[in-house]
């Protein structure tokens, strides 16, 4: 499906994947994180194929897909405490700080079931923040977000790359991120 | 009195039945009043903080 693609991303870079519907953005990202095995080609992290030590690789990355991985019956804060807790030790303060940062302080103690589409997306983004890992892979991170939320995503991405991290995101509208450090990868449909 | 308590040999059934029934009645009285009290407390709490959640 995807063919003739080759790229490398360095620390401090933001790779923006664009392309028309069905171009293969989602497929590309899922391959990058090792959920889908590429039929041919190699994906390396720090020079080593990612599947060689998948657990070590995964402990360095955070993934946000089309759907937000939240339990409808738990509150926003509980979702993060459990979801991120299995990756690294975090306390309630860290969770609250992350929820503040994404503008979720107003609804952090409500079951996710009662949140609107955009509110859920914000909670999911807080999870990415909390993971505290160098590599972020995000599929349309700004869907359902309002203008303010779009700007927020831009700021978060910027902060991550300034701190030396890497962000790979598939988007339809470019994120408001400073040009320096941003690279674009345009997929064409077929 | 002890003859009354013996219930003609059926004490093992009669008294547990009475205990069960009146236990359930007592519990129902407590539960109903508790539910009213908690509803009042909840209404009061809401009235204090304003009616918007």
């Amino acid at each position: 499906m995807l063919r003739g693609l080759s790229f490398a991303v360095d620390g401090g870079e933001y790779l923006e994947v664009t392309g028309p519907n069905g171009a293969g953005k989602t497929s590309l990202l899922r391959t990058l994180i090792g959920l889908v095995h590429a039929e041919s080609g190699r994906i390396t992290w720090n020079g080593r194929p990612i599947l060689e030590d998948a657990r070590a690789y995964h402990s360095q990355l955070a993934w946000l897909g089309h759907e937000s991985p939240l339990k409808a019956d738990l509150t926003a804060a509980e979702n993060l405490a459990f979801g991120i807790g299995i990756r690294r030790r975090i306390d309630a303060v860290a969770v609250a700080t992350a929820l503040d940062e994404v503008g979720a302080q107003g609804f952090s103690d409500r079951p996710v079931r009662t949140l609107s589409a955009g509110q859920r997306r914000r909670v999911a983004l807080a999870g990415v923040l909390l993971a505290g890992v160098p590599l972020w892979v995000l599929d349309e991170p700004a869907t359902h977000l309002d203008a303010d939320g779009q700007a927020l995503v831009g700021r978060l991405v910027e902060r991550q790359i300034v701190a030396g991290g890497i962000v790979v995101a598939a988007v339809h509208a470019p994120l408001p991120v400073v040009e320096a450090g941003t690279r674009r990868l345009g997929l064409s449909s077929k | 009195m002890s003859r009354f308590l013996a219930m003609g040999g059926y004490a093992g059934s009669v008294w547990p039945s009475m205990a069960l029934t009146f236990g359930i009645i007592a519990w129902n009285i407590i539960a109903a009043r508790r539910s009213l009290r908690s509803a009042l407390a909840e209404a009061r709490r809401r009235a204090r903080i304003g009616d918007d959640p």
């Binding site: 994180i33 959920l35 889908v36 095995h37 657990r55 070590a56 995964h58 402990s59 360095q60 990355l61 955070a62 993934w63 897909g65 759907e67 937000s68 991985p69 939240l70 339990k71 409808a72 019956d73 738990l74 509980e78 405490a81 459990f82 979801g83 807790g85 299995i86 990756r87 690294r88 030790r89 | -």
Partner: protein, 225 residues
């Protein structure tokens, strides 16, 4: 990085909290078990002697079906909302996390079933002396079933209507459990020694503990692809 124990504790705690927030789910297998064991006497003639004859069969088929139903939910919600994907990408051993999940699943379904089985047995006219044997056999049986179910539930995750395939895959594999379990129960009811079938059940549990989490993790990875 969280330690493995910490991670397992969080997985279990999350599942338990979700279950208690949503009581109906907690009651489901129990209710199903209660209802199936109630339906039988209704559909058969309710003579105590005949009921007692079929009691081991009814108890075990009911327990098997109740666990089987619960197995469908073992991974389903986590797969739908992306939690399983996050587990696979968490940097922790997926085998270990799924083992924790299976354990919490048994705590929420198998254990209550085992504890409730004496009541159902009484309804079928079984004498009190048989109760320890019944509880023990159903405890072992449900542990083995949960482990087996983790593998088959993992295998059927990617499938649209997994339920059908899940029963189809699990039940044949569960047949030995059913046979030895019912045998143990029948012996307990008849007042005979139960050690023989019980050892076999225990052997299945040990086998399951060593192999099932590995197989489940492999199955889940495949279905995430």
């Amino acid at each position: 990085m969280s330690g493995a124990w910490q991670a397992a504790r969080l997985v279990i705690e999350r599942d338990l909290r979700l279950a208690f927030r949503n009581r109906a789910q907690l009651l489901h297998p129990l209710l199903f078990f209660a209802i199936v064991t109630t339906l039988f006497p209704l559909a058969l003639s309710p003579e105590p002697s005949r009921l007692r004859d079929v009691a081991p069969g009814v108890l075990w088929v009911a327990a098997l079906l109740a666990s089987l139903l619960a197995i469908e939910f073992l991974f389903r919600d986590d797969a739908q909302d992306g939690t399983l994907e996050q587990y696979a990408l968490s940097g922790q051993s997926l085998t270990w996390l799924l083992f924790a999940k299976t354990l919490s699943h048994w705590l929420l379904t198998g254990l209550p079933l085992a504890l409730m089985s004496p009541v159902a047995a009484y309804g079928l006219g079984v004498a009190v002396e048989a109760v320890p044997g019944i509880i023990a056999s159903i405890t072992l049986g449900t542990i083995a079933l949960s482990l087996l179910g983790a593998v088959t539930a993992g295998l059927t995750l990617g499938i649209r209507r997994g339920g059908a395939m899940l029963s189809l895959l699990t039940l044949p594999l569960a047949v030995p459990l059913l046979i030895f379990g019912a045998q143990a129960t029948a012996r307990a009811i008849a007042g005979e020694p139960v050690a023989g079938p019980m050892y076999l059940l225990a052997a299945f549990v040990v086998l399951g503990l060593t192999l099932a989490p590995l197989a489940a993790a492999a199955a889940v990875r495949i279905s995430l692809e």
